[in-house]
Symmetry: C2
Subunit: 295 residues, 2 copies
């Protein structure tokens, strides 16, 4: 039994923390808004009133918050992780943030006597609930092996991809592929509907060939039904595509499809779809094609 | 045992025809260039010297040729399928061609006393060899059910998606998704390499999450090794993206990612990569990013 602090009990964090409790760990959770903490306590976890209280006795500190500034806010300052965690504790950040920020914070964690991993995840809410996330980890190999048994409660594919920050770099690529694939599926669905093809049959046969992908498997059917409850919000994916495009630009890597996808995601956000699931890119394609509800 | 004529023994057609022989059918093959016929005969098939000879006794006529004009050449004229096939024979076209041409040829087949299905496939050379293709079929349901037991020797996912031409429409969407996914994976790999990430580990973890797709599963490893033996040639995928973009345009469907992908495929062709596998889109991204062999 490992003593774990889990900070950030949102759409992803709460089911992940619950799975850690299910696996027999002592988990104390903290969230900025209290109702999430209450839900976690109902599920068998312990609740904390502050980050400081949550991390005080923990061997492992997990964070799962929306963006780079949120991670900085949680780890820094008098009430933060760095000032209050035990010496030698391991901090694992599941959040998706800028790789350069991740590297800088790992160094700050080391200076504060902690060891750090960046460990962003993929697989969505369903993957979090099923404990079947894909976890891409940057950091020292021995630390990865130390926490791997615990991570197996939340993830199915757990892979170290390189030194600190590498997890975030791979997650950036992940978000590029996911957003682009959603857009490709959206364009295809509108195209098929325009030609009167049976989209349910088409999704089945597309999924069985070289076009097969996780978006066709998990999201295409709900896209056809216009069900866009998040899931993963367009606002957050827009943030992530900002990370991808600026990281690619800094490295001199030209990503034409990634750049256009980022523009499209931004347009969907401006259109007011920010709080819908990222698969709502379909709505924009429908509107551009004169087939939308407001057409 | 069904008597089958198989016309077009190329990268896809030859292994498909062999699988039909393996399944116990009497298959007579024809190909414009003779060596492919010889290879088929070595594998236990029968060889024909002309289309007319191949189809004369067949219950089923299968065609698998590169493009719309090739299909027209094979079915039309004195030596063609329509003039020489038995009354009541079923013509199944596995080729990827324009949906409108497919509809017109199905009507001509009916007028000639044949029944017709458009049945383009996906899954690549590997899928053809394994008999595991995805087959998207347009045409009458009773004809589909009549030939389904035979198709099971070449395909795993066999789905009727609508009336004549619908198979080609779904295949167009398939080619849009495949090309776009290759480009997304290519951009991601160059991005990861620029940041010194372990690409083999990254491919594994990306494949396990929401970014998971058949290109990551089947092609990313060979892309990293710069192995671009076709497979499916850029020249042919360029032809297919011409079908997609013009069919989308005719239907008033806006496909920004599809259009950009078509431009990129065209650029790869102009660059001289037409005879390489479509995964060679990677080379273009590398060159644009100053990381190519000619950079």
């Amino acid at each position: 039994m490992t003593s774990i602090a889990f900070i950030g009990l949102g759409i992803m964090g709460l089911p992940m923390a619950k799975n850690l409790v299910q696996a027999g760990h002592d988990v104390i959770g903290f969230n900025r808004s209290r109702p999430a903490v209450d839900r976690f306590v109902e599920a068998g976890g312990r609740g904390a009133d502050s980050v400081a209280q949550a991390v005080a006795e923990a061997d492992l500190v997990f964070t799962m918050v929306p963006d780079s500034p949120d991670v900085e806010a949680v780890v820094s300052g008098e009430d933060g992780v760095f000032a209050n965690a035990r010496d030698g504790a391991v901090w694992v950040d599941f959040s998706t943030i800028r790789p350069d920020v991740s590297v800088r914070l790992a160094e700050a964690a080391n200076a504060a006597g902690l060891r750090a991993l960046d460990a962003p995840v993929s697989g969505g809410e369903a993957g979090a609930i099923e404990g079947a996330l894909s976890i891409m980890i940057g950091g020292d190999e021995d630390v990865v092996e130390q926490v791997r048994p615990v991570l197996e409660a939340v993830g199915k594919t757990i892979v170290r991809v390189g030194p600190a920050g590498s997890g975030q770099t791979v997650k950036a690529a992940n978000q590029l592929i996911v957003a682009g694939t959603i857009q490709l599926v959206a364009e295809s669905l509108v195209f098929l509907e325009a030609y009167g093809v049976d989209t349910t049959a088409a999704i089945e046969v597309l999924a069985g060939g070289l076009a097969g992908n996780r978006i066709l498997d998990r999201k295409a059917a709900s896209m056809v039904k216009h069900e866009f409850e998040p899931g993963f919000r367009i606002d957050l994916h827009h943030k992530d595509l900002g990370i991808v495009t600026s990281a690619a630009r800094e490295a001199g890597v030209v990503i034409p499809l990634g750049a256009l996808t980022a523009q499209i995601m931004g347009a969907a956000r401006q259109k007011g779809y920010g709080s819908l699931d990222h698969s709502a890119l379909l709505l924009l394609v429908e509107e551009l094609s004169g087939r939308g509800s407001d057409a």
